[in-house]
Amino acid sequence: MMIIKILGTGCPNCLKFEANAKQAVKELGLKAVVAKETDLAKISAYGIMRTPGLVIDEKVVSYGRVLMVEDIKALLTKQAA
């Protein structure tokens, strides 16, 4: 099962990102779990300097901006392949 994490400290952008990610998973019908990581120490361990960030199965695939549902779907499909 794919584990998707949204890295963010809780600002509205991160919430929007989480919603977009959940929508993308739903539209693709993927077996995946969408979680949010708000702990600073854990977020910084991923090495990103700008939130929000998107992590799929422990690999950082995007950071610094909120992605649209379509872009997230593209990344998820690429990862699933």
């Binding site: 400290t9 509205p12 600073l40 977020i43 910084s44 090495g47 300097m49 700008r50 950082v60 610094g64």
Partner: protein, 335 residues
């Protein structure tokens, strides 16, 4: 020179908007312009529209430009420099690199764990919210270019100076240890942004910021309108008049805990100045609101220990007051 002042009048002062809203209030709504509340209404409509138009265009343009300057690239560049040069570059890049204040902590961690000196990171962190392209242009619109440029200049000096002092104090032990844990940037190509990406980011930035600040703008313009037309000048000069020694410290201390966007404070600053408050006092207020705020200090507390935090707040506060006093003393040269 002529064309410059024409551009200034059309795009920054928007005289046409002033006339248009005046027409609307007097000829369409048939209200009496000599009534101070009507004058306030005119001012409110003109200033609100002006700020929203400027805001949208500026944020879009600035975000587009800033999409070329990522913090990752900034970190790489800063790694090559040392000492005062590094602080200066840090302050300069701080103005160009975009970051929303929610990223300030990951950014701080990212810079520090990569080995950048604490002072350089602070120079960056101070200049970023303080001297920001969009607000500088707005300053030029509300006051004039000389003031806007002087503001940029002293803002950068403040950032560089504060960062240098923090470096000299060797307070590296005042940072939470998890920050120093070495971690590399994720193993992925720094996203190559297409032009479409940049446009999307810029549009998103406009929507995002308007959503965040519209209320501050409305409140700010309303207060400005009241100051212009309703609140008696004598009350204002009693509290904040140029000759009062406490005006700058008062303006600064009131501004520090406040969290408001700079776009909301500008109309208040402009109105105060027009009523005889010193330009330095107004700028101190604006700088205090932007550079320091309770939310950002609370966030910073998560990565920096109390002693360093107090040093940071202390230096920036003193710097702001000094700048305020300087502008009050020499500001007449800029008008």
């Amino acid at each position: 020179m002529q064309i410059f002042s024409w551009l200034n009048d059309v795009f920054l002062k928007m005289n046409w908007l002033h006339d248009g809203t005046g027409f609307f209030v007097v000829d369409v709504l048939k209200l009496d312009p000599s009534n101070p509340f009507v004058a306030s209404l005119h001012y409110f409509l003109y200033d609100t529209l002006k700020i929203f138009i400027l805001l949208s265009t500026l944020i879009f343009t600035v975000s587009y430009i800033q999409s070329y300057f990522s913090p990752e690239r900034t970190r790489k560049i800063l790694g090559h420099y040392k000492g005062l040069g590094a602080n200066t570059l840090g302050a300069l890049l701080g103005t160009l690199t975009p970051f929303c204040s929610c990223s300030s902590i990951p950014l701080f961690i990212g810079f520090t764990s990569a080995g950048l000196p604490l002072g350089v990171t602070f120079s960056f962190l101070i200049s970023s919210p303080l001297v920001d392209l969009a607000s500088v242009i707005l300053l030029a619109s509300v006051f004039n270019w000389k003031i806007a440029l002087a503001y940029v200049f002293v803002g950068l000096i403040l950032a560089i100076f504060s960062g240098t002092v923090i470096s000299k104090l060797h307070m590296e032990d005042q940072v939470e240890s998890f920050v120093y844990r070495k971690s590399e940037l994720p193993d992925m190509e720094e996203e190559q942004l297409t032009r479409r990406n940049r446009v999307d980011i810029s549009i998103l930035a406009v929507k995002d910021i308007i959503q965040k600040v519209w209320i501050y703008i409305l409140v700010g313009v309303s207060i400005g309108a009241l100051i212009h037309n309703v609140i008696p000048e004598s009350l204002i000069t009693a509290l904040l008049g140029q000759d009062k020694w406490y005006s700058v410290p008062l303006a600064t201390l009131v501004g520090i805990p406040m969290y408001a966007d700079i776009f909301g404070t500008l109309p208040v600053a402009e109105a105060l100045v027009s009523k005889g408050v010193g330009i330095g006092t107004a700028l101190s207020f604006m700088m205090a609101v932007t550079a320091l705020s309770l939310p950002s200090i609370i966030l910073l507390k998560k990565v920096v220990k109390t002693k360093l935090l107090m040093v940071f707040v202390g230096i920036v506060t003193s710097g702001i007051m000094l700048i305020g006093l300087l502008f009050n003393a020499f500001g007449y040269l800029l008008f």
